[in-house]
């Protein structure tokens, strides 16, 4: 059991980080913490992917003539992660912009409080 855990250490760390991020994004009332949770969740998946591409003894895929293909790590997860990182930054920026807008209006970062404030002002559109 312990050996298996040690063997799969990257995967286990990744899923634990995913869980932490997911629960934070889902349940933490503070908006900034939620955004951090979102980033934790995304980077956890990226860690998972990066670990999956790794091959014992492989080197980074800077191709050289006459080298066996098994000498490199798998480049596909790397490509996916690069794409994913930029997507995550875009979402984070949008999220932060919305947070700033909300703060300007309600002077709070606590989503529950904002919801109550918004609901009490709901009658007037």
């Amino acid at each position: 059991m312990l050996e298996a855990i040690l063997q799969q250490r990257y995967y286990i760390t990744a899923v634990l980080l995913f869980t932490i991020g997911f629960v934070t994004l889902f349940l933490h009332p503070n908006l900034l913490k939620k955004i951090i949770g979102l980033n934790l969740m995304d980077t956890a998946v990226f860690l998972f992917l990066a670990a999956m591409g790794y091959v014992e003894g492989g080197v980074a895929p800077m191709l050289e003539e006459g080298q066996e293909w098994t000498a490199y790590i798998n480049p596909v997860p790397g490509g996916l992660v690069l794409t994913g990182i930029v997507v995550a930054v875009s979402t984070t920026a949008l999220f932060l912009a919305l947070t700033q807008r909300l703060y300007r209006r309600y002077h709070s970062l606590n989503l529950d409080e904002i919801l109550i404030l918004a609901r009490s002002g709901e009658e007037k559109h």
């Binding site: 063997q7 995967y11 490199y72 480049p75 930029v86 932060l96 700033q100 109550i116």
Partner: protein, 335 residues
């Protein structure tokens, strides 16, 4: 966690239908209201639900029944920890309990997910092994024939700009969409930049000496994307960070004069357009077998890799401009 037994006791009592008298007991005003509401519905029939009820709003207001329905329409089902002054109808006891449920819920969800995911992680192909399913003919071709097919030494760059270029195009579009939406959300017409307070001597000296290095490094990473680690994204991010540093060192007004917002958005648009046209050409000729391939050059030379170098430049411009745009938008505020 100290009040666990008490909480458990309450649940048992609640389940047995014999809830305690006292602060949580039957004199709960919300419960009273709910009872009244139920009786009201009983008396007026089911049509009182839905739209019909709101036709008779005035009538109900005259009877003083609106306050009751209000309580039902904002039911306390959401585990909110609000400040009492916003909702005086809530009592602190209930709130504390809800907060507690909230925490238990988060820990419970976290534990469940962690257990499931760990089980999955343990049953996955072993880390670092060479016979995993992901190392199949797809990865093999990328590594074996990547150099001749893309002309790029860096297989990852070749992958994202040649084999899977459509994703990359979509992803630039995400970045563009995010920049436009951030501008739409934060860019009020009457905004003004933060007042420049004069450069901090330490920051200014350090920044002035670091700035050229960072910008040069960013350009290097972008231009050498097909030869060494890095590429449009990493280089663009470094360049963006450099521009932000420049803005810190030189001051926003100076920066606004050198690189106005309009130039930035024009540059992003043009770069994305160029990217789309180049890649569109390559997709179109590839799909219709029209030939028309861009010469790949000698792998390893700076002018090699066909379209990869210009594509990297475009991506670099998009990323750098967008990052800097984010920065200026977050800095500005409407007064």
């Amino acid at each position: 966690m100290k009040d666990n037994p008490q909480w458990l006791e309450r649940v048992i009592q609640w389940a047995a239908g014999q809830e305690q008298e006292g602060p949580e007991g039957p004199e709960d005003p919300e419960r009273q209201e709910f009872q009244e509401y139920l009786e009201y519905i009983d008396a007026h029939g089911y049509m009182e639900f839905g739209a019909y009820r709101y036709m008779r709003r005035r009538e109900r207001a005259a009877l003083g029944l609106d306050a009751v329905t209000e309580a039902i329409h904002n039911p306390p089902h959401q585990p909110n920890p609000p400040k009492p002054q916003h909702r005086p109808r809530r009592r602190p006891g209930l709130l504390r309990r809800q907060l507690w449920v909230y925490r238990v819920l988060s820990v419970g969800v976290a534990l469940c997910l962690a257990v499931i995911f760990t089980a999955v992680a343990l049953s996955l192909p072993g880390f670092g092994e060479t016979d995993v399913p992901a190392l199949n003919e797809v990865a093999q071709r990328y590594l074996e024939r990547g150099m001749e097919e893309t002309g790029a030494v860096n297989a990852v760059t070749g992958l994202i700009l040649e084999y899977r270029a459509f994703d990359t195009f979509g992803e630039s579009a995400v970045l563009f969409a995010a920049a436009v939406s951030t501008a739409l959300l934060l860019n009020a017409p009457g905004r003004r930049l933060r007042n420049y307070r004069g450069p901090d001597p330490v920051l200014s000296t350090l920044g002035r000496s670091l700035l050229p290095v960072i910008l040069l490094f960013g350009v290097y990473v972008v231009v050498n994307g097909h030869l060494s680690p890095g590429g449009g994204f990493s280089g663009g991010a470094v360049l963006g960070a450099g521009l932000i540093l420049a803005s810190l060192v030189l001051g926003e007004e100076e920066m606004d004069r050198l690189l106005p917002q309009r130039t930035m958005s024009r540059a992003t648009t043009l770069a994305l357009l160029a990217y789309g046209l180049m890649k569109g050409y390559s997709f179109f000729t590839g799909a219709n077998h029209l030939g028309g391939e861009i010469p790949k050059g000698t792998p390893g030379a700076i002018l090699s890799g066909g379209l990869i170098l210009p594509l990297n430049l475009c991506v670099g411009v998009i990323v750098a401009c967008t990052m800097y745009t984010f920065y200026t938008l977050f800095l500005s505020r409407e007064e």
